[in-house]
């Protein structure tokens, strides 16, 4: 049995998503071996149990159900993917408790947020949002995850700043924070050292070479005012990711009267450091560039050709004289795939281009709605328990919700009856 399981897991290794906490090997075996479908399968039954518990839980700690459900989902669906509904679950869980101040620095809740962020395309935005909302600001895990994200993106300086912020906030547990911070510093140091070694070893043979987009070399008799940038060390300062590497260039500036802006040094911490900014409102997404604000189209005029011919539109690029080859399979199908009778096809409309909607945007919308509801601005009110129907990964209808209550009551009754029976059996013995 165990041998067969081993083979199973060896065969589908590439399908297993890594987990921070690792995986329970027995659950993994089980998850990989039983792939039966249908509503009666053990997985679906367990899922149904969680879904109903989410809705009828009446205890003090509703987060615990979500926490267990999500951990179970991670373990049971090692491939991740859509069928696990993990992304939906995380988003709903995170949204569900944004109002509950008591959870804001609960390690479980913060963990959910971090998992949620890691599932998103722009985790940094989520971390900033958390900080703005005061979620997890005293939890070391937030800063560790945040810093790691910066480190992955190559900004070691910001990664370090995150730790500074964490120390300022007295995030707990302190030991863990220290340990991770040291590890980060060690990694950065090692990398810097490695780079130095590499540099020094191949500095001699290196010929001066052109650097694209480098500062201009001066001409004529004037002595160097602009830094000469075409030597080996200066090339390094451009390609190097570490801010400290800008130092060699600095020497050149000292003998000039002008302070020359060097974009390679621009990473020194300034007042505009994003990390220290107090967020009054949820931050907007930073990953997007050239985002155009929607505006009225009918007011926009084509720029007219002026007297001096400044605003002439550039001519359109000439069409190639050859026919570019396009793979037949390259064109994405715009219709929903459908295997049914083609005469029926017309019922199905082409899939509409989905609205650009990030989880962060939805979170902000939720935030906004809540605010409006508090201020009594909301125009519509749904006259039913919407939150309960749309909890978890699936939806329930009124009847299902009531049925769950009924089944729970029945289970309690039968348990009580059994308890009474035991007592009755015990009594005569006395």
């Amino acid at each position: 049995m165990a041998e067969g399981g081993d083979v199973d897991w060896e065969l589908s290794k590439e399908n297993i998503q890594p987990l921070r906490r690792g995986r329970d090997i027995s659950v993994l075996h089980q998850a990989l071996s039983q792939r039966e479908e249908g509503p009666t399968s053990a997985i679906n039954q367990q899922k149904q149990m969680f879904e109903s518990e989410l809705r009828i839980y009446e205890g003090e700690d509703p987060l615990s159900v979500w926490d267990r459900y999500i951990k179970w989902t991670e373990q049971t669906f090692p491939q991740g993917g859509k069928e696990s509904n993990l992304a939906t679950l995380l988003e709903r869980a995170v949204t569900r408790f944004t109002d509950e101040k008591m959870y804001h620095n609960d390690p479980r809740y913060v963990d959910l947020w971090i998992k949620f962020a890691e599932n998103c395309s722009e985790p940094l935005d989520i971390y900033r949002y958390m900080q703005a909302q005061g979620i997890g600001v005293t939890q070391a895990t937030l800063y560790i995850a945040w810093s790691e994200e910066y480190e992955n993106q190559g900004s070691y300086r910001k990664a370090d700043l995150v730790y500074q912020e964490a120390f300022k906030r007295f995030a707990e547990p302190h030991d863990k924070l220290l340990q991770f911070h040291k590890a980060l510093q060690a990694r950065v140091a090692r990398q810097a050292l490695l780079k130095l070694e590499n540099d020094s070893s191949d500095e001699e043979p290196k010929q001066p070479e052109r650097v694209s987009l480098a500062d201009l070399k001066h001409r004529g008799k004037k002595k160097a005012i602009a830094p000469v940038n075409r030597t080996g060390s200066a090339i390094r300062s451009i390609s190097g990711g570490l801010p400290s590497r800008g130092a060699p260039v600095l020497g050149n500036v000292s003998n000039s009267k002008l302070v020359i802006f060097d974009e390679n040094k621009a990473e020194t911490p300034g007042p505009s450091e994003p990390l220290l900014e107090p967020w009054m409102a949820p931050p907007t997404s930073r990953a997007k560039e050239n985002e155009q604000k929607p505006e009225k189209w009918c007011d926009v005029k084509m720029p007219q050709k002026t007297k001096f011919g400044h605003a002439v539109m550039p001519p359109p690029p000439p069409k190639p004289t050859f026919q570019p080859f396009v793979e037949e399979s390259d064109q994405p199908p715009t219709m929903t795939p459908c295997k049914i009778n083609p005469t029926v096809n017309s019922v199905l409309s082409a899939r509409k281009p989905s609205k650009e909607e990030t989880p962060l945007k939805r979170l902000q919308e939720h935030h906004q709605q809540r605010k409006e509801a508090e201020e009594g601005k909301l125009q519509e009110r749904s006259m039913y328990c919407k939150e309960l129907l749309l909890s978890g990964a699936t939806e329930f209808c009124f009847e299902e919700l009531r049925a769950e209550h009924f089944f729970k009551k029945m289970a309690q009754k039968s348990q009580e009856a059994r308890g009474d029976g035991c007592q009755a059996a015990a009594d005569p013995a006395k």
Partner: protein, 326 residues
């Protein structure tokens, strides 16, 4: 409140009412399923309960097979048939999860059940035995029969149209044109389309014919919304019933109102007075002279105190149900 054209049924169920269905042959008999685990047969004219039978759990739906046989299913996942003459019942079969809907298709002579186990099962009422299980994409919330076609509404706002004579494939897969959870689907008596209601005060009229001209005619409208202190309160639309002669339909919402609509002129024909609590189910009699109205709280806002559940029988006139020809 109740005028001379309307009265409350005596000996009503002791818990919420899940469905009311008139006999296919006469306006005298009404079948009622309830959360008190019973199915009851009422003599509407005499205003008495003729009989009742038990399930082991709350009953979610019931249907007449013929004037003397009822079928019912509910949370115990069992499908029962009951002989109303001899007062004997039999278990026909089971689903893997509670049975949400039970319908009869006279054209193909088959009983249809839909369940939260994501399947529709067909049953041969003569033997009686299971005649096939058909997997649906999600939990079945409502279904309706239009001639030999079956329209299934599931969770996830999906609508599937099956051909009961050839269940080998799904004839049409659609998405509900409404944004929120589907509460009820009922087919036009003329079999050309269906009406779908959602949990957020909206009703859609749709057509089965996939051709473009016909599809252009589909529409949706808001209803069962009450404006109080500048805020619009949006209620679920739980029940739909068609008038068999005029092809007009009644809708019932959690606001306690019953509206009658003319789908051809897109007009509301009338609105009755407000009933004590949510309208859980509606049924026109076969000849269209009576409307059974189940006013019963459906736990939309949790288990709170609520007005008593009751069934009202209302005599309706042509003025209330006939489209105004202009």
């Amino acid at each position: 409140m109740t005028g001379c054209n309307e009265y409350k049924l005596n000996q009503g169920p002791e818990d919420s009412i899940s469905a009311v269905k008139f006999s296919p042959s006469t306006a005298q008999f009404l079948l009622v399923s309830s959360w008190d685990c019973t199915v009851r047969l009422y003599d509407v004219g005499g205003n008495t309960m003729r009989m009742k039978y038990q399930h082991t759990a709350p009953v979610l739906d019931c249907a007449f097979y013929d004037p003397t046989h009822s079928w019912s299913g509910g949370l115990d996942s069992q499908l029962k048939t009951h002989d109303l003459n001899t007062d004997q019942d039999a278990i026909v079969g089971t689903h893997d999860a509670p049975i949400r809907c039970v319908e009869y298709c006279p054209e193909v002579n088959v009983m249809v059940t839909g369940s939260w186990d994501r399947s529709v099962r067909l049953w041969d009422p003569r033997t009686p035995c299971n005649a096939g299980t058909f997997t649906q994409p999600d939990k079945v919330y409502t279904l309706s029969v239009a001639g030999d076609r079956l329209i299934v509404g599931t969770a996830g706002r999906r609508v599937l149209v099956w051909d009961l004579r050839n269940m080998g494939y799904v004839q049409q897969r659609r998405e509900s044109s409404l944004k929120y959870q589907t509460r009820c689907i009922r087919a036009f008596p003329n079999k050309q389309g269906y009406v779908l209601s959602s949990i957020e005060g909206r009703v859609a009229v749709e057509y089965l014919d996939p051709s473009q001209e016909v599809q252009k005619k589909k529409y949706a409208f808001k209803c069962h919304r009450l404006k109080e202190e500048g805020i619009e309160h949006v209620y679920p639309v739980n029940a739909i019933s068609f008038h068999s002669v005029h092809n007009t339909f009644a809708t019932g919402g959690s606001d306690g109102f019953v509206n009658i609509w003319d789908p051809f002129n897109k007009k509301r024909l009338c609105q009755f007075h407000r009933y004590p609590t949510s309208i859980a189910s509606l049924a026109f009699s076969n000849d269209g002279t009576m409307l059974a109205i189940a006013s019963s709280y459906m736990h939309e806002k949790g288990d709170i105190s609520h007005p008593e559940d009751a069934i009202f029988i209302r005599q309706v006139t042509d003025a209330e149900t006939k489209p105004k020809s202009t």
